[in-house]
């Protein structure tokens, strides 16, 4: 699927050059995490401030290991339901950074042709389902997709992503309960970044971990270091194996931290400063780079090359997106129904 990425050649090269499957995986992880980081940085720190990206901007900075580590486990049959902090899912499913950037800029080149903004996008060909704003609304929808896959005789699994705060919603409970009663092939992947907008965990739930909610559905629940991309990958493999084998859903809680405000306009004054420092040390990109060097999976030069390739890809993508036109107002009434 890398062909759609401008830096795909570099990715293919570095993966091929890796000596072992483990090393190859690490290279992939690094590439996608870097790409997500770079695209989000560009959006939040440049295009948004330039007024070229409008509306809400939510980024997954510092949380890239979750969408990348889990998303890379997916096989083509699987259907993914990324949350608003899981941009890498789109890249992994073959959607180019060009189209993602065009989406943020409201251009026709975006996945919603300018009809919706930011992470509110999907593509059934790539088997990525768009969130709606209402948090956790995709959870029962993912259960339905899993039901459909079983119905259709596919061995696909639904990957349902959400944040800690989203587990407070009724839809979350109804979707997880239905999936567990029906033993549907769903992996529920929580990015527990300890905040929901300004709301800390202790005002969101009385239990210590999101995983503590597993037993309510007789569902295995596992906690994993969400800033360790290989750990996320391995845990997702366990979760997916369980779900794919017909044993029902599996809950994976990825502990992490939101290294930004809730959205681009939020300075996060309510977060104790020390937490940013503490978690900054656990940056998942820095960690995989260190690991790659330690394990001799890559040289510093190779790592630098990934970064350079990604930067170049994003430069190109921004240009492409800016060249994509705004939607023509004459299309205003289209697509509400199949035929108008």
């Amino acid at each position: 699927m890398s062909a759609v990425h401008a830096a795909g050649a570099e990715l293919d090269r570095s993966v091929a050059a890796a000596g072992t499957p483990e090393a190859a995986l690490a290279h992939k992880c690094l590439y996608y995490m870097q790409l997500m980081r770079e695209v989000e940085d560009r959006i939040e720190r440049k295009l948004y401030r330039q007024g070229k990206v409008l509306g809400g901007v939510y980024v997954g900075r510092g949380q890239e290991a979750i969408s990348v580590g889990s998303g890379l486990v997916a096989i083509p049959e699987d259907v993914l339901f990324p949350s608003h902090r899981d941009m890498a899912i789109f890249f992994i499913r073959g959607i180019s950074s060009r189209r993602v950037l065009a989406q943020y800029m409201g251009r026709v080149g975006g996945l919603t042709r300018g009809r919706d903004g930011n992470m509110h996008m999907g593509d059934m060909d790539a088997k990525v389902v768009s969130i709606i704003s209402a948090l956790a609304a995709t959870v029962p929808v993912a259960a339905g997709a899993a039901l459909a896959m079983r119905y259709q005789g596919s061995n696909g699994v639904a990957f349902s992503y959400f944040g800690d705060g989203s587990t407070s919603r009724g839809d979350w409970h109804e979707g997880v309960n239905f999936a567990s009663v029906q033993k549907l092939p769903v992996v529920f992947i929580c990015n527990n970044n300890q905040y929901a907008y300004s709301t800390p965990l202790n005002l969101q739930m009385a239990c210590a971990n999101v995983a503590d909610r597993g037993p309510a559905y007789n569902m295995p629940a596992e906690i994993v270091d969400g800033n360790d991309v290989l750990a996320v990958y391995a845990a997702t493999e366990r979760a997916v194996a369980h779900a794919r084998s017909g044993k029902g859903p599996y809950l994976l809680e990825c502990k992490t931290f939101r290294m930004t405000g809730h959205s681009a306009h939020d300075m996060a004054h309510y977060v104790p400063k020390g937490l940013f420092e503490e978690w900054g040390k656990l940056d998942p990109i820095v960690r995989i780079q260190q690991r790659m060097l330690e394990e001799n999976w890559a040289t510093q030069a190779e790592i630098d090359q990934v970064h350079a390739a990604v930067t170049a890809e994003v430069d190109d993508a921004v240009a492409w997106a800016e060249a994509s036109p705004f939607p023509d107002p004459s299309t205003l009434l289209e697509d509400v129904y199949e035929s108008q």
Binding site: V79, L111, T112, R113, R115, D116, H120, M121, G122, D123, M124, V129, S130, I132, S133, A134, A137, V139, P140, V141, A142, A143, G144, A145, A146, L147, A148, M149, Y151, Q152, A158, G170, D171, E174, G175, N177, F178, V181, Q182, D335, V336, Y337, E338
Partner: protein, 323 residues
């Protein structure tokens, strides 16, 4: 052999499930029990649990899972046990299902069946007519059949439609009306109203169970020399504005009738459509006969006073005729 309104829906659903392996049912107590009103009685035995999915008490999950299955290319037919509970899965319907195609070109070919309406002593929570919540939400289609023929033809069209369809079944009609149905496969198009009685003096525009009330009133009025045309909308979205306006052009007098409460009801949309389109043809005020703006009362004395009936229609129609 005559087929009831309920049986017509049951047959339509059954035939569509036979025809298209992608069609399946989902809802509470629809399996072994056959549904609260028995619309799916016998389905589990015939089609199996794979295609007749009993759910927990989770309207959001029923709607949401239907959406997910619809996105994957299946054609789920969800049942709300009573239309009154659709508010429990509301966000899924008005924000998820309604907006997928518009936003990211993802069709959601689902049908949500809901027994609605009063007249069965159901009280405030088993009698509501919630169609307007959906009529005002772009992206949804809304169907309210009045006859067994239309119920069967429209449920089939709804299932074959590639957009989300809200299908309201008037529960007081379930076993009350019947007619002979064609034995061959047929559909009734979504979005087409029907003139169910021709007339020249006055048009009654209505839908659902009130079509029968209108016909009853028209019969009485005919005896008084008033020729009433009755238009059954059949579908509220898309609304067949042409047929409505055509009737007004013909009669110049309009009585709008619905069982739903008055303020914000379908009559408003019709009044606006008529005054903006065929104002010059109007030869009198547009008159509404509807339920009053209260919850649906339980006691017979109150429920009778609450529901529109032929008498109330006749009274208003006489006034309008003389106007």
């Amino acid at each position: 052999m005559s087929t009831t309104y309920l049986e017509a829906i049951r047959e339509g659903l059954w035939e569509e499930m036979e025809r298209d392996p992608n069609v399946f049912c989902i809802g509470e107590d629809i399996g072994e029990y056959g549904g609260a009103f028995k619309v799916t009685a016998g389905f589990l035995e015939h089609f199996g649990a794979r295609r007749v999915v009993d759910t927990p008490i989770s309207e959001a999950a029923i709607a949401g899972a239907s959406i997910g299955a619809g996105l994957m290319g299946l054609r789920p037919v969800a049942e709300m046990q009573f239309a009154d509970f659709i508010s429990c899965g509301f966000d899924q319907i008005v924000n998820f299902a309604a907006k997928c195609r518009y936003r990211w070109n993802a069709p959601v070919p689902i049908v949500i069946r809901s027994p609605s309406g009063g007249g069965i002593h159901g009280g405030p929570f088993h009698s509501q007519n919630p169609e307007m919540w959906f009529v005002r939400t772009p992206g949804l289609k809304v169907v309210c059949p009045a006859t067994a023929y239309d119920a069967k033809g429209l449920i089939k069209s709804a299932i074959r439609d590639n957009d989300p369809v809200l299908f309201f079944e008037h529960k007081a009609l379930y076993r009350k009306i019947k007619e002979d149905l064609p034995t061959e496969d047929y559909t009734v198009p979504i979005g087409k109203a029907k003139v169910v009685r021709e007339g020249t003096d006055l048009s009654i525009i209505t839908y659902g169970a009130m079509v029968w009330t209108a016909l009853e009133a028209a019969e009485t009025l005919a005896a008084e020399g008033v020729s009433v045309e009755v238009v059954d909308l059949r579908t509220l979205v898309p609304l067949d504005r042409d047929t409505v306006c055509e009737s007004v052009r013909k009669t110049s007098k309009v009585l709008l009738l619905h069982e739903d409460t008055r303020t914000g009801g379908m009559a408003g949309e019709l009044a606006a459509t008529i005054t903006e389109t065929v104002f010059e043809y109007l030869d009198g005020p547009i008159v509404r006969v509807t339920a009053p703006d209260t919850p649906v009362p339980f006691s017979s004395t109150l429920e009778e006073a609450f529901l529109p009936n032929a008498e109330k229609v006749i009274e208003k129609a006489r006034w309008l005729y003389r106007y």
